[in-house]
């Protein structure tokens, strides 16, 4: 069992040597990259990585370049999880048979996928991997849209967002359905650890990633990924928008242990109105009209109810 990398503070963390390289094709200001850096830098262990088709994969592995400093595999859209699960199974087999090339080193198996791959098309595959209990971590880079293909809705797209396949128009306010609760679904698989993280709260994220790596079995991490291109804000504001998301509780940061113990891990000193979060992004611009502004109130109510629910569950220890 390898030692957990000690990260007391940001200065100590800054001595990390990134295993993810620049000159990739991700948009300037892309949060995916910040998340990947925090995940990979949380450990010094060897890594076996996979990615599903999506922004991360398409921008970091286009022949003749790779941006990955660890072994990495991409197969298709649905199956980043299965790719890493298969590698994990091979690791176990080779270990049993004494054929590992570096038998003293235990790699961590991590799959990355967008919300498209995770919430929608790859859902069955992830569910299978989790049910089978592979020793792996799945990190969903949740930008609430199929960003790579130009911004179509996913089941993670929240109500009222205007995206290309649920655009706001004269008679529509955009996405009609509420965001799927992947955290609850993955926790219900009995996974030892699931957690919601955001890249602006690096300490919270790194602590959770380390907890995830220390757990035995499948771990699900839902990472909020503010998308400058599809959420429509200036590239320099990625961290600022992430702050609005976590401080308005639109993206509450919490963890669920063994499917039952829910802990809220971040309580904002000043809770920001949801209105401020929505108002900072072009994809919600149309909500600020007479016709649609009731939706902003509904948003606030929904976020308040969810926060209330999380607190009650935390207190009740279920």
């Amino acid at each position: 069992m390898s030692e957990i990398k000690k990260i007391k503070n940001l200065k100590e963390f800054s001595t990390s040597a990134d295993r993810f390289e620049g000159a990739n094709l991700l948009c300037p200001g892309c949060a995916h990259s910040i998340i990947v850096r925090e995940v990979l830098n949380a450990t010094n262990d060897d890594l076996i990585l996979a990615a599903s088709t999506g922004c991360l994969e398409v921008c970091t592995a286009v022949y003749p370049y790779t941006s990955w400093d660890a072994s990495w595999i991409h197969i298709g859209f649905e199956n980043g999880s299965s790719a890493v699960a298969g590698a994990e199974a091979m690791y176990k087999a080779l270990k049993t048979k004494g054929r590992l090339k570096q038998p003293d080193r235990v790699p961590k198996f991590v799959a990355f996928g967008g919300d498209g791959a995770t919430y929608d098309i790859g859902f069955q595959w992830i569910s299978g991997c989790f049910e089978r209990g592979h020793n792996m971590m799945y990190v969903c880079l949740d930008n609430e849209v199929y960003a790579n293909t130009g911004g179509q809705r996913s089941s993670s797209t929240p109500i009222g967002a205007s995206v290309t396949t649920t655009p706001a128009g004269r008679i529509s306010y955009g996405e009609k359905k509420n965001k799927k609760d992947m955290m609850a679904i993955m926790a219900a698989h009995g996974a030892p650890y699931v957690a919601q993280v955001a890249p602006n709260k690096w300490k919270d994220m790194v602590a959770k990633i380390q907890k995830g790596f220390a757990a035995e079995g499948p771990v699900y991490i839902n990472a909020m990924s503010a998308c400058t291109t599809e959420w429509k804000f200036a590239p320099e504001d990625t961290i600022h928008i992430s702050d609005l998301a976590t401080d308005s509780l639109v993206f509450p940061l919490y963890e669920i242990i063994d499917g039952t113990q829910l802990n809220i891990t971040y309580r904002p000193k000043n809770i920001v109105p949801v209105r401020d979060y929505l108002g900072a992004q072009g994809r919600f611009k149309h909500l600020f009209t007479k016709q649609n502004e009731y939706l902003i109130d509904e948003w606030q109510k929904r976020i308040d109810a969810k926060w209330d629910y999380l607190q009650r569950r935390e207190e009740a220890s279920v």
Binding site: D46, I48, A50, E57, V58, A61, V62, Y63, P64, T66, W68, D69, A70, S71, W72, I73, H74, I75, G76, E78, N79, S82, A83, V84, A85, G86, A87, E88, A89, M90, Y91, K92, A93, L94, T96, K97, R99, L100, K101, Q102, R105, P107, Q124, W125, S127, G128, E131, R132
Partner: protein, 407 residues
């Protein structure tokens, strides 16, 4: 270390049992699979071996066939011996990943127990799944019996894992007719079987932690053509010689001789049928009867290697024949049968002036009987004598209702 089993020299096995023993004997590192009729007993047999300590590799029961092949690809890229089994709908479901496996040049062996693809839903044997995989870039072997299903698994692993090949391979066998029909199978000992295939030699393995490698990279219009050309080059030049070498080694080990194209009584044949699977043996019996009872010089060509398509060997086998029929056990859906098209392509531009016709038969498990074959050979004799088709180009045989034929 997994326990070994002392097999008898001849075991009474159906095709499924033969395949699962072969997988046990080559000591597969990861089997990721999903059950589907009629291949299910392969994974059930393998699970039984695992539960009783005869397998120490991993056995992953996935949530679908697409998941199974996805795990197989991850495992193969990680670096070890990988296998699975499926049929029909399951094969169709994993089709996307088949292209990935071959494009990524990963050795994986798939036992495909041939079954009809719906609609309508059908669990019985025909070749529609085999045909669906034609363009996927996999090597495809055809077994006609449980013995051959067993033997060809060893050939498949050996060829697929060769560093000059590195392409996944399918071993086909007829659903129910081979998979569930028991026969005496000459066995190899666990040791002899494993040693024939040899230890897995890793290449580009992700689990070599000192040499991180990126698998599954995207290529656009500036690189894709070159990568696909490379894959085609391997399929067209490296594979058949390696298969022949493996066949030669296998013959030395067991006395059983396999050929890239199986020719039966073709030396002086004036008429021939070309087919795959269990039909080959039926056709061989009828060909001998046609010679003995009707004086018709009949021969049979069995397709042993379906992919890569052995164009030159097929042309050579049919060189002096006057009339040929391809028997296709799959619904061609608006075209001539696949074998008809591949064979005509092989004979075009040669001097062979054979009359070529096509029979569609046996869909969804409908039997091909000796009587059917007698009528086919009789048609062929008439074609040979007339030096042109005396029947429509495509005929359905064994079908109830008015005669169905085209062209």
């Amino acid at each position: 270390m997994a326990d070994t089993i002392e097999l008898r020299d001849i075991e009474v096995w159906d095709g499924n049992m033969a395949a699962s023993h072969a997988l046990r004997q080559v000591q597969v590192d990861v089997v990721a699979a999903y059950p589907i009729t009629p291949s299910t007993p392969i994974v059930e047999g393998y699970a039984g071996f695992k539960a009783n300590g005869y397998v120490d590799g991993e056995f992953v029961m996935t949530e679908s066939e697409h998941g199974a092949m996805s795990c197989c690809i991850g495992a193969a890229a990680a670096g070890g011996r990988v296998a699975t089994a499926t049929s029909s709908q399951g094969f169709a479901l994993m089709l996307e990943t088949l292209y990935s496996a071959s494009g990524m040049r990963l050795p994986i062996v798939l036992n495909l127990v041939n079954r009809a693809i719906g609609a309508p839903l059908n669990v019985n044997g025909d070749h529609s799944d085999m045909y669906m995989g034609r363009d996927s870039g996999w090597i495809q072997f055809g077994a006609y019996s449980p013995q051959e299903a067993y033997d060809l698994n060893f050939i498949a692993f050996k060829v697929s894992e060769d560093h000059d090949v590195r392409l996944p391979a399918i071993v086909n066998q007829d659903g129910f007719m081979t998979s569930h029909t028991a026969q005496g199978v000459h066995t190899l000992s666990d040791e002899a079987a494993y040693n024939f295939v040899g230890e897995y030699k890793p290449m580009n393995d992700m689990l070599d932690l000192d040499h991180p490698v990126t698998h599954g990279v995207q290529t656009e219009e500036d690189w894709h053509f070159e990568h696909k050309a490379r894959q085609q080059h391997a399929l067209m030049t490296a594979v058949i010689p390696k298969i022949q070498a493996a066949f030669d080694d296998f013959e030395k080990l067991t006395g059983r001789k396999y050929n890239i194209v199986e020719s039966y009584d073709m030396d002086d044949a004036e008429v021939a049928v070309i087919c795959m699977g269990t039909s080959v043996e039926t056709a061989r019996e009828v060909a001998l009867e046609m010679r003995a009872q009707h004086g018709i010089k009949a021969g049979v060509i069995g397709i042993r290697v379906f992919r890569p398509w052995p164009l030159e060997q097929i042309a050579a086998a049919l060189k002096n024949v006057k009339a040929v029929a391809t028997l296709d056990r799959s619904s061609p859906h608006g075209a001539m049968g696949a074998l008809f098209n591949e064979v005509s392509g092989s004979l075009f531009n040669t001097d062979t002036k054979a009359v070529l016709t096509n029979y569609i038969y046996g869909l969804g498990g409908r039997d091909l009987t000796k009587a059917h074959l007698v009528s086919i050979f009789t048609d062929l004799k008439a074609n040979a004598d007339a030096a042109k088709p005396t029947t429509p180009l495509q005929q359905y045989i064994g079908l109830r209702g008015p005669k169905l034929s085209f062209f």
